[in-house]
């Protein structure tokens, strides 16, 4: 059905075109809501619709006032700092712990593999509200609720499954004779790890790290329960904004976040292709 054969009947022709129209409508449904915020964030008026001035491309209808608002606001700036601080710290922890665990899991000698894998993936499966409620009580009882430590540990737990999964996936095609060869040639285990294993699993580690980062960066339920006012992140600030007063400042934030996600998406895609090429899984 990629192209229409010359002998297609009228019915087939109609279906051929209808099907494409339907598909593009669905792609439109996926993309349009996200992209529409970008022009709206340059609205000179505090409205969520295109004003007449905007549609006629009158420069007075467009402005940067919501971006000025954003960068001039202490609470937004603080939330941006917090999001990066928490996200980066949680990513480093999750990546380290997750990569080590994936290396261990990939060894055939590992006992109770299924059970352990289940536990390591569980933060991804358990509904967030339940994780958040549990952590709220536990973190309160050990005095790390409403601290950066608490939020970072919680986000580490949520990010770990992604690292474990992506690194395990790169290890599936991993040729273990390479490390043995290195060992036979006299390399220390550490040297073997950094010279042989690491470069091969690096794409998996990096994309796992990106997943862990975006998980933390985007997380809100745990933050609602565990974080205090000083740990407010961007999503927490947006949550208040949506529930209380939707000003187009939120659209400015949202537009910037869309650009961030485009950057992350591109990185992950490039890594995936590189990794597949290196492992010879696909022609790229």
């Amino acid at each position: 059905m990629r192209t229409l054969p010359p002998y297609a009947t009228t019915g087939e022709r109609i279906w051929f075109y209808t099907f494409r129209v339907i598909c593009f409508a669905i792609f439109f449904f996926l993309l349009a809501p996200i992209l529409i915020m970008i022009p709206l964030s340059f609205n000179a008026q505090p409205f969520f619709t295109f004003t007449r001035e905007m549609l006629t491309l009158n420069p007075d209808g467009w402005s940067l006032r919501w971006y000025q608002d954003l960068f001039g606001s202490d609470s937004w700036m603080r939330s941006i700092r917090n999001s990066f601080l928490i996200g980066i710290a949680a990513t480093i922890l999750a990546t380290t712990l997750g990569t080590l665990a994936a290396l261990g899991l990939s060894r055939s000698q590992m006992p109770f593999k299924g059970l352990i894998m289940g536990i390591l993936i569980s933060p991804m499966i358990v509904p967030l509200i339940i994780s958040a409620a549990g952590m709220f009580f536990f973190f309160s009882s050990i005095n790390i609720a409403q601290t950066f430590t608490g939020v970072i540990l919680a986000h580490t737990a949520l990010g770990v499954p992604f690292v474990v999964i992506t690194v395990t996936a790169t290890l599936v095609g991993f040729d273990h004779s390479l490390t043995r060869a290195a060992a036979n040639l006299g390399a220390s285990p550490t040297r073997t790890f950094f010279k042989i294993t690491m470069p091969l699993i690096l794409p998996g580690v990096i994309s796992g790290a990106l997943f862990a980062f975006i998980t933390s960066f985007d997380e809100i339920v745990i933050v609602l329960f565990v974080a205090g006012v000083e740990q407010r992140t961007i999503p927490r600030e947006m949550w208040s904004g949506i529930r209380e007063q939707i000003s187009p400042t939120i659209l400015a934030v949202a537009s910037i976040l869309v650009l961030v996600s485009i950057a992350l998406l591109t990185t992950v895609e490039l890594l995936r292709r590189r990794s597949e090429r290196m492992r010879g899984l696909s022609p790229g």
Binding site: S140, N143, A145, R243, E244, Q245, I246
Partner: protein, 370 residues
């Protein structure tokens, strides 16, 4: 030579350390976390209380947390954990009484801890009758009212009363109410013809509760529910709804400061106190008490009314209420306690809600979902 210079340096740094220590003893930096309701209300407290206090005490930094909506839950969790991070919390008197019974907030000796009126009247007599609680220091009297967007009604047929709010034929349009029973059930009975002084007696009977819900059923198709105070004016401004119940101060802020076309129906306004409680074992109890002595004195309570239209809880503050700080308009006509507005108030009965609250909240939640 070398040794000597070392000694000199040593003595010098010891001295400067001493000096530093002395300065710190005088003004150890203090960070107070003060919890309130957010939005225009927190803004009024910042300008009337926090900013002057921080100016007088440069070592104090006040951090605002708008967690009052879930304050009792957080206080309980903090207290159970033995890790109290809040210094001062703005709360409703009903929640304050619960927290007080549980021992998680401090008992207040009002005359010893709070400033007397300028004429020497002790605090316990200066605060309005019935407003003080065992653990509760009132700041304001506020009211829950119904307001509407004037652009959504013809000029000659604006709604006037609670009865109009329940009349969906005469006054069409969606209505936003809070997602809890308090105020809504009272209004339903009032609109159904129950006299104001009988409302809580009727509501204490199963038939009365049924009657209130039956009245709410008549407008249910038009209802939208809001959770947080700031949502009501937002829904009205977006014309998502024609009417919204809300706190009079927030509606004032939206209509007078932001210029939204809102009007308040003062008929059946539901009057309640709001004020401070001090968490037990808070991190800076002494510093908070100093702050409270200042922030609840006669002048400060009157000052808050320059920023938001809530009535001060001290009798001695009333004559000092003047004009809005930014707009210069007279604030008295906007106060819930102004006689022009106070013609048919329903005073919220906290004892009633303590006794029947859980059951009615459950039924209300269920009714919303049906």
């Amino acid at each position: 030579m070398k040794q000597r210079s070392l000694k000199v340096i040593g003595a010098g740094s010891a001295l400067s350390l001493l000096a530093l220590g002395a300065a710190q003893a005088a003004e150890d930096p203090v960070r107070l976390t003060i919890v309130s309701w957010g939005g225009a209300y927190t803004a009024s407290q910042v300008r009337a209380y926090h900013e002057p206090w921080m100016e007088m005490n440069p070592h104090v930094t006040i951090i605002n947390d708008d967690g009052s909506a879930n304050a009792l839950a957080s206080l309980r969790a903090q207290s159970q954990a033995g890790n109290v991070t809040w210094d001062l919390v703005d709360m409703l008197p009903s929640d304050a009484q619960l927290a007080c019974d549980e021992g998680i907030i401090l008992q207040i000796d009002h005359d010893a801890m709070l400033a007397a009126a300028p004429d020497g009247t002790p605090a316990s007599e200066d605060f309005l009758p019935g407003s003080l609680g065992e653990c509760f220091i009132p700041q304001i009297v506020y009211s829950t009212i119904i307001s509407f967007n004037t652009e959504m009604f013809p000029e000659d047929a604006m709604p006037q009363s609670i009865a109009d709010f329940f009349d969906t034929e005469g006054f069409p349009g969606r209505r936003a109410i809070q997602d809890r029973p308090a105020a809504n059930l009272e209004w339903a009975l009032y609109a159904d013809g129950v006299a104001i002084e009988d409302i809580y007696d009727v509501l204490a009977t199963p038939e009365g509760v049924d009657r209130a819900f039956a009245k709410l059923d008549t407008i249910k198709d038009e209802l939208v529910f809001w959770t947080e105070g700031a949502q009501a004016p937002q829904l009205l401004a977006d014309q998502e709804v024609a009417f919204a119940t809300g706190y009079n101060g927030r509606i004032f802020d939206a209509s007078e400061v932001e210029g939204q076309p809102f009007e308040i129906i003062w008929d059946g306004q539901i009057v309640e106190w709001d004020g401070w409680v001090v968490p037990a074992d808070g991190p800076n109890v002494d510093a908070v008490m100093e702050y409270l002595y200042f922030a609840t004195d006669t002048q400060r309570l009157a000052d808050q009314a320059k920023f938001i239209s809530y009535g001060p809880a001290r009798a001695s503050s009333a004559p000092l209420v003047s004009t809005h700080a930014d707009l210069g308009i007279d604030m008295i006509p906007h106060m819930p306690t102004n006689p022009d507005n106070y013609f048919s108030p329903i005073v919220l009965d906290n004892d009633f809600w303590t006794d029947y609250g859980d059951e009615l909240r459950e039924r209300f939640a269920n009714w919303m979902l049906q």
